[in-house]
Symmetry: C2
């Protein structure tokens, strides 16, 4: 069929010499993974660490405490940044890009905080920056958003994108562990950030949603632009309400088109029923549902925390560098982008240990009202703007959990809202 000359050959791939910053859970994981993939032809030349004295699994001559030893080494063409400190990480990534080195990172906080500047640095210095591991650890979501959903048909991205809180919620709901014990377990298993507040207060998921917004819809927004909260308010009584209704509570990030020009985005605890793909996402797993006009729903699930799953995504970015892959940011660069809006309504469940902590005036409409000593709750419709501009719902003893279908499209609520409260004898 074919002569020798017609035999296709592999495209020439670049030799990669890596400089690694950080040797924590993920850094060590990456080192192990690279040892198992000799075919990749990528080797770590030097590892920059902060604390020289610490006992480590590999010999001392792999390490340095001087960043410049990596950044000024011209033989190092890829910087892999896996440190905790977001400010120090940005300084490293910036300098590396300025020197034309390719950079791989999984630092969602740093990326969300500097998204636009990082984009311009890539452009200005013609350098590549990849960060698949930053969003859902092992799940290849950024690349699918960039490549497969490369059109205007995507209408929503919704998912569980923090493995640590999902692990904690699973243990609370399914094994009846206390919040504290569940958190300790998550930390021991290496699922939690070194500062657990980043996870349990929702900052980590919000940073990830910020990155997903850019790749899914071309919208650049920092967490301060949208509503988000963590799981610290979830009480045992909320778990009981959920169980009675065959629901689970998950920390869900949502980005959803609300009209032709606008997008809603939020990270909040949410009730999920058994028909929802997210219902079966347990322990440290992450899961994402995309919805688009013609492909309909897609569901992606994979490990969302832990050394190896994140390292696997970092490895995949490194492999992609061999063939000069880079994000094109097509949706961001398009002229007609969706803009983030807080002009929409949410259906919420709010519980509190004291009824006075629930600001009923904030609601447009109240459907259920339960006032029992030490166990009060309200189900109602609230405007997003009223949530973002207040924090009574984040107070101690209060929890706000979204309904399964949270975004309410019928804005008639606004007009009839106050009246309904009066009719219900509440206002």
């Amino acid at each position: 069929m074919s002569t020798k000359s017609k035999v296709p050959v592999l495209p020439v791939s670049k030799n990669l010499t890596l400089g690694l910053f950080g040797f924590g859970v993920v850094g060590k994981g990456l080192y192990d993974v690279l040892q198992s993939t000799p075919a990749l032809q990528a080797s770590i030349k030097k590892i920059c660490i902060k604390n020289e004295g610490k006992q480590r699994a590999i010999s001392k001559d792999h390490f340095t405490t001087h960043a410049s030893e990596l950044l000024n080494d011209e033989s190092i063409n890829v910087i892999v940044e896996l440190i905790d400190d977001a400010d120090a990480a940005f300084a490293i990534v910036k300098e590396a890009l300025q020197k034309g080195k390719a950079v791989v990172s999984a630092n969602k906080k740093m990326i969300a905080a500097h998204f636009e500047e990082l984009l311009y640095l890539q452009h200005e210095y013609n350098a590549t920056f990849l960060y698949e591991g930053s969003c859902c650890a092992s799940i290849p979501i950024i690349r699918n958003l960039e490549e497969y959903y490369d059109n205007d048909l995507l209408s929503s991205v919704k998912g569980i994108i923090n493995g640590s809180t999902n692990y904690i919620l699973t243990k609370i709901f399914e094994d009846n562990l206390s919040f504290k014990d569940a958190l300790i377990q998550a930390q021991q298993l290496g699922f939690a950030e070194s500062n657990p507040a980043l996870d349990i207060e929702g900052h980590d998921a919000a940073n990830k949603l910020s990155i997903l917004l850019a790749h899914a819809f071309g919208s650049i927004a920092s967490p301060s632009n949208f509503i988000y909260n963590g799981i610290t308010g979830i009480k045992q009584s909320d778990a009981e309400v959920a169980k009675q209704k065959n629901l689970k509570v998950k920390l869900v990030a949502t980005a959803q088109k609300i009209n032709d020009n606008e997008l809603a985005a939020f990270v909040l605890p949410q009730f999920v029923n058994s028909q929802d793909d997210l219902y079966n996402v347990i322990n440290e797993f992450n899961g994402l549902v995309t919805e688009s006009s013609f492909a309909d729903k897609h569901f992606f699930k994979g490990k969302g925390a832990g050394a190896y799953p994140t390292a696997a995504a970092v490895l995949s970015d490194i492999a992609a560098l061999r063939y000069s892959y880079k994000y094109e940011y097509k949706k961001y660069l398009q002229e007609n982008k969706l803009t983030l809006s807080n002009n929409y309504y949410l259906k919420v469940f709010v519980s509190a240990d004291n009824i006075d902590k629930i600001n009923k005036d904030a609601f447009e409409w109240i459907e259920e009202w339960h006032n029992e000593r030490g166990n009060c709750w309200v189900v109602g419709i609230i405007h997003a703007e009223k949530l973002i501009q207040s924090d009574w719902w984040k107070a101690d003893g209060v929890s706000l959990i979204l309904s399964q279908n949270a975004i309410i499209e019928n804005v008639e609520y606004k007009k009839i809202g106050k009246m309904s409260l009066q009719l219900a004898g509440i206002s």
Copy 2:
């Protein structure tokens, strides 16, 4: 932060002028989808059809019956091939590639039958051939196998890859429909191939597995090289056995490393328990689980049949052509590829309306033996080679269903097999 000159711009994208072959379910679906995505800047110049007389939803001047009108038109730079006839499809695709046109197809039968030749044509004429829609309709699996799992860490790909049979099984198991009624429904909904034997006898899933093998493991094998069957043998009594054990029966395709050099591949009905991600893949949905050393399990789910889901995948391929995306076939071009083997053992359930139809001599080991008039079944271990070289298990009244964990790694069975049959008083 940045001056005007630093503002990144979209990379130049190609203008695409399409020639479409076929205006059936998927072709019409693609036409509709393209009408909804003007931003794509891809337009259909001409549609080649077989039957001029047929009533169609759009005006006659879109159509021609002469293939050459599309293939010889130099302004057409992309041929989209969506016809049923695999031989005619190959002739079209071959000529288009030879003329240097890019080609998009969803014709799994044609692609599986000519995989190696298509690969060489792409190379020889420097032409691009994309076919994401051929494997799991809307699920972006080929590109993820090509790009994300671009290393030697993938150990298995397992999934439900035929939407039509999954729809039929769901209706039989959950709505107690007869096989015939379920098939008619699937055809009415546009989920089944025009020749339903392709679906229900497993040929379609086998063709898809053949394509997945190439992109997942670099192994090129036609369906005749591995074991496959469809769902025509599944009886109501099998459904009852499954229900009693809280299992479902699914038609599952598997490609799995069995040692450092070899790969097992098969498409067979299989019992699936509720812990398995495939358990919740119902109706026309497809679902795939990949397993790799460090990322662990990933699960992808989406609509696996129907006009729009397949058209969405075709659209995504068309969008990728704008930026010159092409498959690199890296795994196939690597030197140390896995080879397909039939040297492994499977744990199977075989039922029959008459015990004589079960060839007990084929088994290495029999665990359960049930002989009731009109309802006989055996659970045992069988060597793959003995299945591929016989067809007693495909006879009328016989069904063979794999156990949840089908591949048995302990080959000691072979040595003690015959003895065990004697001990059990069967042989």
